[in-house]
Every structure is written in C-alpha cells, then in structure tokens.
C-alpha cells in the first residue's frame, strides 16, 4: 500500500493529514481490490460496500472515498472503489459488473458522473436487489420513494446559503465595507450558479457597504485565477478590499498572485471546499475562510445508511421525505473555529444519519 511506503517519511502529525494519508494509500488498495474479486465475501453472504465517483485526482473525491473506507473498516465489511474517470459508460459498466459479482448483495454510495446516470444506476440496483445512495447529481424528477426500498436516499449540498455564509465571513474580515472582486466557476455548472447567487445575496444584504468591483469566471482553475487576479490588481489596485472565490483552488491562485505583490494576508481571501491548502492558508492568516463539505462524512454516512437498510435495521420506506432527499451541511471554517473544525473532523459518528442535515432538498426551477 502506498501509504505504508509514504508513512515513515511523513512528518506532519495532524489528525486530518493522517486521514488524508490513509486515503492516499487506499488509492492503491482500491485498484487491487478491483483486480482481484472478493469471491469469499459474496459466498459468506456479507454485504459488499462500494463507492463510485469521478476520480481520485481531486481532494474532495479522495476524501469521500476515505470516509467510505473508514465506515467499511469500522464494521469489517468488504469495500470497493469504482472510478468513472468522467466516463458515464465506464461508471455504469463497473457497477453492473460489481452487482453481478456480489449477486446483488451490494450497498452503493455513488456520485453519478452525470445526472441522467442516476436513473440507470438506481434501476439496475433495484433489479439486482442492491441498496443505493446517490450524491449531488440526479434528475429532479427521480425520487428515492419511487424505488422503495432499494433507492435509499439522495444527498446534496445547497450552494446558496453556504456561499452567502462564507461571503459574510469575508465581509467581516474586511471590516464590513469596501470593494471586492469575485472569481466564479464554469458558468453553466449548478454549484457555480448557486454560489454566485449566495454571494449576490450577501452583497445585497450589506445595503451598498460592500460593492462587487468585478466578477470573472476562472473555470475552477487556479492558474486562470492567478492571471485574472493580476489584471485586477492593475485595474483596481488598492480598491480591492477582499477576494471571493467560488472554490479553494481559485482562492489559492488569487492568494499567490497577491503574494507576488507582497499583499498575501493584507487582502482577505475566501474559498469554498475546505481543501487542505486552504485550511493551512487560514491558519497562516492569509485566507479569511472556506466552506468544508465534509466529504469524509458523506462518504461514510451514505454507506452506513444503506448498510443499515440492507441489514433491516431501518425501514426506509417508512421514513419521511426529508430523510430520503437531504442536504449535508457545509461548515464555514474561519480562523476563529479552525481548531474546533479539525478536532471535529477526526471524530466521525456514523450512527447519526440525519443529525447533520439542515433539511430536505429544494428544487430551484
């Protein structure tokens, strides 16, 4: 396992970092697990737990898988990771293969590559008698209660209130007034749209004290954000009192452009996603906040809920709709609560399925 190789030379002792290392190691383990079918598991009648997602190349999904593995380890169940590599066909083919191999004794926590995939995956799982929890992407008219009991739940995050909350943290760091510049994601992405709405709401709530000097989409890309920030420094100079970025990668790009001018820490920057680099920047006083999506929790709790249904511990069909389609909570992390957040992160409770949810998913036409 890769983390065994890296382990001895790793130096940081932070709890979160260790979790991340675990995930790095499991990247290798996942590949192996996929190569050698666990026939023994299927024969013994155990439920196999699996996670399906886009890629291991980004921190969000790698941590999502690590959370799933943590739950699987805690109950001693066999665990698999399926990677779609951004390819819907591959994603579904892998799931079909795993359904066949486990004889349907599968609990799947899936972040579908694209919304339409969710319907196919849910139907295949129901046909095979497996249990599935979906994350983020599904068609608006596909509901868990229409596929009782196999479609256990759908989980997502509401970008509007979280972006609004982190924007408010930014304004507070600026002293409540001044001009800001904002970096958005790819214009057509739902999270990018939601986060822009949240920012606009927060600005409107200041009654003109905070002005949006300019908004540019940087396509979630830190290099692009770096270049745009440079141009902004020329255009607005010291009028920039704060920088809002719709994800942490772009926040880091903007921060590094500021650093090149000796302004890192002088102009507060916020991001969203809660990646490690952003948390360190907050610790160093260079970022004013981020939003942590808690992928450790979504990865683990999705499997825990599905597993509980599979084992007959919960009658999911009897649960109310807000327990079937629910939001996870984005946690706004600022310098004030960073230590608290890191401590919380290490103590995951997979028994409380809905305790962290702020409510049922809303559909914005």
């Amino acid at each position: 396992m890769i983390h065994k190789r890296l382990g001895p030379i790793a130096r940081r002792q932070l709890l979160r970092r260790d979790l991340l290392k675990g995930a790095a190691g499991f990247a290798g383990a996942g590949v192996l697990a996929g190569t050698f079918p666990r026939l023994a598991a299927a024969q013994s009648g155990e439920w196999t737990l699996a996670i399906s997602m886009r890629s291991l190349a980004n921190p969000y999904h790698a941590t999502f898988a690590a959370g799933g593995e943590a739950y699987a380890e805690s109950v001693g169940a066999p665990f698999e990771v399926l990677i779609t590599e951004g390819n819907s066909e591959k994603g579904m083919a892998d799931i079909r293969a795993l359904l066949a191999r486990t004889g349907g004794k599968l609990v799947l926590n899936v972040d579908p590559n694209d919304s339409p995939d969710a319907r196919v995956i849910v139907e295949e799982c129901q046909r095979a008698g497996a249990y599935v929890v979906t994350q983020w992407n599904k068609p608006d008219d596909l509901h868990p209660w229409d596929f009782d009991p196999n479609y256990v739940a759908h989980m997502s995050f509401d970008g509007v209130p979280t972006a609004q909350a982190v924007a408010e943290a930014l304004f507070e760091a600026m002293g409540g007034e001044g001009g800001i510049v904002a970096l958005g994601g790819i214009l057509s992405n739902v999270p990018a749209i939601e986060r822009k709405i949240g920012l606009d709401n927060a600005i409107a709530a200041t009654n003109g004290k905070v002005q949006l000097l300019d908004f540019q989409p940087a396509d979630w890309n830190e290099t692009r954000a770096f270049e745009i920030m440079q141009a902004w420094l020329t255009r607005f100079g010291d009028d920039i009192k704060g920088v809002f970025a719709a994800n942490d990668g772009m926040a880091i790009g903007a921060l590094e452009a500021l650093r090149q001018e000796g302004k890192a820490g002088a102009v507060p920057v916020t991001g969203i996603d809660g990646i490690e680099a952003a948390l360190f920047a907050i610790e160093a006083g260079e970022m004013a906040g981020t939003v942590a999506w808690d992928p450790n929790w979504t990865g683990g709790i999705g499997l825990a809920l599905g597993h509980a249904v599979a084992l007959g511990e919960i009658d999911i069909a009897a649960e109310p709709h807000e327990h079937r389609e629910f939001y996870g909570t984005g946690i706004v992390v600022t310098p004030a609560n960073l230590a608290e957040y890191r401590a919380m992160d290490a103590a995951l409770d997979f028994g409380d399925f809905w305790g962290k949810s702020p409510g049922q998913i809303q559909y914005r036409g």
């Binding site: 890769i2 983390h3 890296l6 030379i9 790793a10 130096r11 940081r12 970092r17 991340l20 995930a23 790095a24 190691g25 499991f26 990247a27 290798g28 890629s55 291991l56 190349a57 980004n58 921190p59 999904h61 790698a62 941590t63 214009l187 300019d214 908004f215 540019q216 989409p217 396509d219 890309n221 830190e222 290099t223 692009r224 770096f226 270049e227 745009i228 440079q230 141009a231 902004w232 420094l233 020329t234 255009r235 880091i252 790009g253 590094e256 650093r259 090149q260 001018e261 990646i275 490690e276 680099a277 360190f280």
Partner: protein
C-alpha cells in the same frame, strides 16, 4: 507581365506577412492602453511578464515539435508530474526531502524522460505523435494521481519559492529564467544542426531523409527537448503556486498550442520560429490581461479569444504553398 506583377505583389505581402503577429500584438497594446491607460504602467508590465514566464518556457518546447510538423499534447501531464516531483523534493509537508533548488534539474530531467518516451514510441512504433503524446500526457496525470492519491503537496521551502517571488531588477527570477530558456531555444534553432534538421523535416520529410538528415533520431531528440522545457515549466508552476498536485497542468495545453499558432508557426510544419512563439505568448497574455482591464463581459471574452486566434492565423498564413487544406 500581369503574372510578374502578381508575383511581385505576393512577395511584398510575404514580407509583410512575417510581421503580422507583431502587428497584432502592437495593435492590441494600443487599443488596450487607450481604453485602460494602466495597462502600460510598470507594475502591470511586470505582472504580464510574470504571467508569461511559464507559457514562454512551455512554448519553447512545443515550437520545435510543431516546426517538425508533429504535435505534442503531453504538456499538461508533464507539467503536472514535474510539479508534483518538484514539490515532493523541496521542503514540504508530504515527504522529508529538502533538496531546495536541486529539485529543479530533477524535474527538468523527469520531463525530458517523458519526452524521450514520447519520441521513442512515436518513431519506433510509428504511432502518430498526436496519439502517443496524448497517451503519455494522460499517463503523466495518472502517475501524479497515484503518487498523491488526489491530495496536494504544500511547499514550505521559502528559498525555492523565491524562483517566483524573488526579484532581480524588479523582475521575478522566473522571468529571467524564461528569458534564458528562450535564448537556449533560439541558439538551438539558429546555431545547431538540430535546428536546421527540424526545419528540413517540417518542410519535406522525404527530401530531408534523402539528403541524409537522421530523421528518426532528430524526432526523438526534439520530443526529449520539449519534455525538458515542460519539466522546467512544471517546476516553475510549483514555485508560483506553492504546491504540487495532479491537476497542476490544467489549461496549459490550450495556451501553449494557441500561442505557437497565433505567433505564426504553421501546424503543417517548416514555417515559424521560437521568436514567433514569443510574440504568440505576448498576444495570448496581453489579451487575457487586457480583457479584464477593459472590463469586457466574461460571456464575450471567450468569443474574442476565438476570433483573435482566427484573425492572427489568417494574417500569418502563407497560402501560396498550400495545395490542399485539411
């Protein structure tokens, strides 16, 4: 008589055409300055240079490949892998290495190795450069992902980061380094046999072969050379962003190829030079910076960028030699 004057016209146009990219760059600068006088301020010029440093290094490699009539799509993969290797060798939070600036030559050599494999596979297995480099580019990202498992290495080495943050005569070191890369590339193009051979292969590979040009060896060498430049670009990217992760190269391929082509180097090979590509990088970087300065709406920016590419290529293209257009 009539045909003579036509040829004369064509000649005059040909001379003028070589300067088209420079004209486009100058025109861009004038227009942007009129709308936003800050553009020509010293601090903005330094920002432009620092933004241009990494693209410059990358196009130095890509230019030779394109001059040969091939294409190299491995830029993003090599940049990512080189950045990850660099970040793991300087003082960082993932490994206990602390090589400081020595990490840079290691990254450069690593890039060169991928370049060599690109060239070797392309030439020996006769796989089109398009596919070979696309494949190894993906492999580069894959290896970087496997090493890090999706996480980001944070660079704690202040000395190494001075590459991007430190300045000499008010200009970041990375810019000086990029300048040296341009010089090296120019010397290779103008003063070495390799440079001559690249043009010979790009113009007409069969004739070059008959004339005794070691075509296969040249191809492998050029891909290796390109990899060396990408490796340096990756190390500079790590210094600029203070981190290393598998997606560090994202977006670099488009900028690189655009800059080469907009600068007037033909994708068909044989026409262009590294200096053309310097102008091309200038156009791309000035345009990016200028559109934000002028406050052009984001929705329009991409369209302007696309139009710019078409205009620049249309002006620079020498149609007299084109028999077919594919």
């Amino acid at each position: 008589m009539a045909s003579g004057s036509l040829a004369g016209q064509r000649n005059r146009f040909a001379r003028w055409r070589g300067l088209a990219p420079v004209g486009v760059l100058v025109l861009l600068c004038v227009v942007i300055t009129v709308i936003s006088p800050n553009f020509l301020s010293f601090s903005n010029l330094v920002r432009l240079l620092s933004g241009a440093a990494i693209p410059l290094v990358l196009v130095m490699g890509a230019t030779f490949v394109i001059l040969m009539g091939s294409i190299d799509l491995s830029v993003e993969g090599v940049v990512a892998l080189a950045a990850v290797i660099t970040s793991m060798l300087v003082l960082n939070d993932f490994t206990s290495a602390d090589l400081g600036l020595l990490a840079v030559p290691v990254a450069v050599v690593a890039g060169g190795c991928i370049g060599f494999v690109n060239g070797f596979v392309h030439v020996r297995l006769k796989i089109p450069s398009f596919m070979a480099t696309l494949g190894f580019g993906f492999a580069g990202v894959g290896v970087a992902t496997a090493i890090l498992g999706g996480f980001t290495v944070r660079i704690a080495d202040r000395g190494f980061r001075e590459l991007a943050l430190g300045r000499f005569l008010d200009v970041p070191f990375s810019v000086w380094l990029a300048g040296m890369a341009v010089l090296v590339a120019w010397v290779i193009q103008e003063r070495t046999r390799l440079g001559r051979w690249v043009y010979a292969i790009g113009t007409d590979e069969v004739t070059a072969k008959h004339a005794g040009v070691p075509v296969e060896r040249t191809r492998i060498l050029v891909f290796t050379l390109a990899g060396l430049f990408y490796g340096l670009g990756g190390a500079l990217a790590a210094a600029q962003l203070g981190q290393g992760h598998a997606l560090m190269g994202t977006g670099r391929l488009f900028t690189t190829i655009t800059a080469v082509v907009v600068g007037g180097t033909a994708l068909s090979g044989g026409v262009g030079s590294v200096l053309n590509s310097v102008i091309g990088v200038g156009i791309v970087i000035v345009l990016t910076n200028g559109m934000v300065l002028m406050g052009i709406p984001p929705y329009v920016q991409q369209g302007v960028q696309g139009l710019m590419i078409i205009v620049a290529v249309a002006l620079a293209l020498d149609r007299s030699r084109l028999v077919v257009v594919k």
